[in-house]
Symmetry: C2
Subunit: 350 residues, 2 copies
């Protein structure tokens, strides 16, 4: 039995971009378990305003103003947990995480590369782990993907198996249903030439696919010999109007990003991700070639805009009870919804 | 990153009934990670024989003989973990668990009532927790159900949600595909009158449904006002021959066992389990009425004969790294397959 939601965790929201705003809104919507005590963002249009107004929450003003001075906020609000949503990459951002940990706060971050940093950034991982242990706090990266759909979930799918020969994960996201930033992120409406140019830049595509694959392999104890990644455009077959963007037939509708992990000479782990506007349906599938075989499907998919927020909020109490250090979602207890309140109903005997 | 499978855990198998035999066989089949160092059973037909011969494993003789003297085995083999598979109930069995813990071993048990003992056996739970803490070991109950399909898995399904209003879990098991003990357990081939007589005995039906419901509620932090359980026979619509049993139309094909948890005046958690011979298909479904909504389905179900074994074996390394005490699957890291080895393949570049 884990944290009681009676004792509320003091939360600082670090970063008020689209995800950070949604996270702050979710924290404000909780009637117990989490209390927003500070908000950090450097955007001059947000600094100084009440966080409830900035995020457009259906919530009375909080008295918590957005501040651009992270050190001041972290030093004065005594946070239990920082929900950190500033960027996808560890480069140039490790200091932010260190700063939060030095303030004695657990850090739950949406930074995709933090979800399993041992492959791409072993030195940063080591530093973060050391700082977290020194301060007695947990640092963990999470979200719907990476963090759940293509790593923690498939790992959990293997939990019943006495033997596993391969794991295949497929995620199809109809980006038409998602917010504007996701549609932009996948290149909806750009030309194939522009896609190739972005791709050559090196930071395009889904960030975290390699991390998911390495986390899955690590969780299974499988030594990865090589990872092949492939990133291709999905071309629109017909005109699509998402409300945010218009995409003509032949233009880029989104991305098809895949990663394959070779173990013992063969492709044993495959992650296949399509995110594009105009997809027929969203779904998530995990197939385990094992004993017993597993064939798991989320009909309609796992809706990422909300699910990323859910994972950040729900990981806070788990991080607060885990052993200090840099952790991954494979180290924490099974994620579960935190501080939700089913509606009151008139009892049939009332 | 959890236990490395390089350092093998010393395992004692306590109980060599059908499940215990399958667990011992799975441990023997591992080429790393787990080493069987002892086996306990009181059956005179098993005592004194090599455990590999008793379980019929495709494994050379081990030199480990089955012993009826639990104290001697636990005292001399220095086990890291005891895999305990003797009964479904805590009554009269708590001493066995205490005995294992006193030997300094973690205990992973298939005892259904142990999966979440706080509701039905709070005093036994307190005693087990105290002993486990004193000895610095973990005691945990697990299996496919309870332990995964109707508690840990639905909890995990809510992990992405910012709001949850209700959780519905449905498990349909075609008992024709399962081993004889499961077919007997669900009453396949008995008369409706015999079913009612067994039901009146109080220990018939699926053991652990209430535990699953209470674990799910506890994980969500939801206060359960009442639990309604219902147990009905599923009647065979046509003749079924499973190879183990013949069931005529109108006879009992199996059980329909459900549990509903009332929270805030309404039915917010429902677990619906059907296990019967002649079912069209096996499947597991979790529906979360939440934000985002979740609709998860295991096509073909989670095959229980193997999955229970998988959960016991795979929980061993997780228990060995968790904080001492009585734990549940909601407290441990996400279950995942342990010490599996994908087959070697000729590399395409070789």
């Amino acid at each position: 039995m884990l944290v009681s939601s009676d004792s509320s965790l003091r939360v600082v929201q670090y970063g008020l971009g689209p995800i950070g705003q949604a996270v702050a809104e979710a924290v404000l919507a909780k009637t117990n378990g989490l209390t927003l005590v500070g908000a950090i963002d450097i955007d001059p249009e947000k600094v100084g305003r009440d966080v409830a107004a900035v995020v457009g929450a259906e919530h009375p003003l909080t008295g918590v103003s957005v501040s651009g001075d992270a050190e001041d906020v972290l030093g004065t609000t005594e946070p239990d947990v920082v929900l950190h949503t500033t960027t996808s990459f560890l480069e140039g951002m490790t200091d932010q995480l260190v700063q939060c940990a030095r303030a004695g706060a657990h850090v739950v971050s949406s930074t995709e590369e933090l979800s399993f940093p041992y492959g791409r950034s072993p030195e940063r991982a080591e530093r973060l782990d050391q700082v977290a242990r020194e301060e007695g706090v947990v640092i963990v990266g999470t979200g719907v993907n990476p963090g759940y759909a293509m790593d923690t979930l498939p790992l959990m799918a293997t939990g019943v198996c006495t033997d596993v020969q391969a794991v295949h994960v497929e995620r199809v996201v109809n980006a038409s249903e998602r917010r504007r930033p996701l549609q932009e992120k996948v290149g909806a409406g750009i030309s194939t030439a522009a896609f190739e140019e972005k791709k050559a830049g090196g930071t395009f595509g889904h960030i975290g696919l390699r991390e998911s694959l390495l986390m899955l392999a690590d969780g299974l104890g499988w030594p990865v010999e090589s990872v092949e990644e492939e990133l291709q455009p999905v071309q629109a077959e017909a005109y699509v109007d998402t409300g945010f963007r218009e995409v003509k037939a032949g233009e880029v509708a989104g991305i098809h990003h895949s990663a394959t992990g070779h173990i013992h000479g063969g492709p044993k782990l495959s992650l296949d991700l399509k995110m594009y506007v105009g997809a027929d349906a969203s779904y998530d599938v995990v197939r385990v070639d094992g004993e017993p075989p597993i064939n798991l499907r989320f009909e309609g998919g796992i809706f990422g805009d909300t699910a990323t927020v859910g994972m950040l909020v729900n990981t806070a109490p788990l991080a607060a009870q885990a052993a200090p250090g840099l952790q991954t979602m494979a180290d924490l207890p099974v994620p579960r919804a935190f501080a939700t309140t089913p509606s009151q109903e008139a009892s049939s005997s009332a």
